[in-house]
Amino acid sequence: MATFKMHLLVCGGTGCRASESENLFHNLRTGIIQKGLENDVQVLTTGCFGFCEKGPIVKVLPDNTFYTMVKPEDAGEIIEEHIIKGRKVQRLLYVNPLTSEKVEDSKHMGFYRKQLRIALRNCGFIDPENIDEYIARDGYAALGTCLTEMTPEQVIELMKKSGLRGRGGGGFPTGLKWEITRASKADQKYVVCNADEGDPGAFMDRSILEGDPHSVIEAMAICGYCIEATKGLVYIRAEYPLAIERLKIAIKQAREYGLLGKDILGTGFDFDIELRYGAGAFVCGEETALIHSMEGFRGEPTVKPPFPSVSGYNGKPTNVNNVETFANVPVIINRGAEWFASIGTEKSKGTKVFALAGKINNVGLIEVPMGITLREVIYEIGGGIKEGKKFKAVQTGGPSGGCLTEKHLDTPIDYDNLIAAGSMMGSGGMIVMDEDDCMVSIAKFYLDFTVEESCGKCAPCRIGNKRLNEILEKICKGEGSMEDIALLRNLSNVVKDTSLCGLGQTSPNPVLSTLDNFYDEYLAHVNERKCPSGQCKALLQYWIEPENCVGCTACARNCPVNAIAGERKGVHIIDQATCIKCGACMEKCKFNAVFIK
């Protein structure tokens, strides 16, 4: 590998593949071969670079050139100009949106400057389908250290000292979980990796599995050693075909190298991993539901205790950790607990991966130290709000989280602060909203999700969320009353307090946090029958301002239901009874003549 003079890294994450990065890779590789450069220049498909907004991404090493939105037909120019003549292809370089300057070295991109990549350390650097590349970056060194130099107790002690907490949302201390599972006596125990990432708008775990599957395999083996388990199971979403494929390749390679299977590294330790597929149920992110699903049942949660660490898969002690949690483990072993504990805040150590999405300039996957503020994430890494609009809210924690506002922007992000602010860390979805988003509809959007995903086992969640959703629907239609708002809050608290599992206990959070932070918007819907953001269709009407209308007929031609009448060069009128409020007329009008009433 060291003999190559240059490396072309092509992003092979799901987002970039959707924009033809596979063809791009193919063109680059055949181009390099045609020029006879295959011994000097390596072309690689890697995992996600994180900068999904501007994909497909091509990175050139060693000069750190970062090409964005590269098309398959750009391959020839990159090879001819950059590789052969040494001149960077200027038109493909990333442009700093604030200064309009081209960025020559990716280290100077605002998007990366504030990030600290631990769990994502290999994503975008290595070929995830080649175990040698993982090993070259200290891969499986931690497993070797644990098996040959440390007792399980010492490893657990180290994990406890590092302060690593579960990254799936709960935030339970990982070392402690391992210790409890170790203490349970049984003839067979299991290590389970929860890769059933169900939050809409979150893709952290998928990117890790696609970009660096070996780090998860290595950590599962280490966990197996600690808790005395010989079997590992990865419960993964069937909707992630690429991650499944890469994980299968990685498991096969690890077996061939003797890093999985019998007598690993000659130490007498046996450990192997199998895959189990999810089938699309959000509730299966909950440990007990996940275990039932792996056993072939409906994914319904059960009362804890007994905890899975005592009685889990097939009634045996089972340690369940999430993908990102596992991805941190090998680094902690290699670099020490003190190093890891030096990053982050008092009670939340290390980093967190977030999927930054919504109305933000730099949509993508980021990893930041705990304790960074929302402002730094949104404005410095995220590059601010799209189209220069005004920031309104940021939603963290997915359907279980809440909406935070301007006043929370300077709060350091960690488990406890987010809960105190009325949201939660969750698995790491972070959706930014601007002035055009109606917070009542957003609350309803999340409730739609929970109503669909509630497993139906316990009444507060099954019935309570449905009723909450109906009240929100009423308010969005302009039929709500002040009593409805009071009922909304009351019922939310009942659902929270009485539901069996995490899904019901957190599902009213989007309602409660929007009630707390955007009470005015609820009032406007109820008292004035108005949606201040113009999103709730039932509450808005499109009108044409006669003074601005020049009679260009653009609106009438684009109206899908022919609701607009008017002569050429005459003032147009919208028939309110026919109008479906799609907004096409407003989008097409160049004279600002269409407005919302």
């Binding site: 809409p200 069937a238 909707e239 992630y240 999810g278 149920a281 049942f297 919504g358 999700f449």
Partner: protein, 162 residues
């Protein structure tokens, strides 16, 4: 849900039995069996579930309970070109609902239905993971990014020509 009556021929039954056998007729492997069976048939009609229940030595009620619980499993056949609109939060705040409305309007079907000619079926899914391209629409395996309502007709025309 309207169930569709089909008669499974012996060959199909043998294929199903082979799938169950691959997993040692273990009812703990039910979800894996259903994944494979759906891959084979495109959907899981009642007749298929009956065969699986028999092979795995469990009740049809148990199989149906699992099929109806998970959104990945379907009991109705999908269209020749299945259309899925991403309704993840990132796509939602970037206007996925308007795109969905446009598909519904043009195809004259609701979410979960298939057009009369069997060409298109419409469904929603949660996060393809291509949030940078939001809103995202998938037709079969092909991903369309940054779809605007007025681009819907062009997408459909691509398939109507075929």
């Amino acid at each position: 849900m309207a169930s569709i009556n089909i008669k499974l021929n012996d060959q199909k039954i043998a294929q199903l039995q082979a799938i169950c056998k691959e997993f040692n007729n273990d009812k703990g492997e039910l979800i894996n069996v259903l994944h494979k069976a759906q891959h084979l048939f495109g959907y899981l009609p009642a007749e298929v579930q009956e065969v699986i229940a028999k092979e795995l030595n469990t009740s049809v009620a148990h199989v149906y309970g699992v099929v109806s619980f998970y959104s990945f499993f379907t009991m109705t056949p999908k269209g020749e070109y299945p259309i899925s609109i991403c309704m993840g939060t990132a796509c939602y705040v970037r206007g996925a609902e308007k795109v969905l409305d446009e598909f519904k309007r043009i195809l004259k079907v609701k979410v979960g239905e298939t057009t009369g000619d069997g060409k298109f079926s419409l469904s929603c899914l949660r996060c393809v993971g291509a949030c940078g391209l939001a809103p995202v629409v998938m037709v079969g395996e092909k991903v369309y990014g940054r779809v605007a309502p007025d681009g819907v007709k062009d997408i459909l025309d691509e398939y109507l020509k075929q």
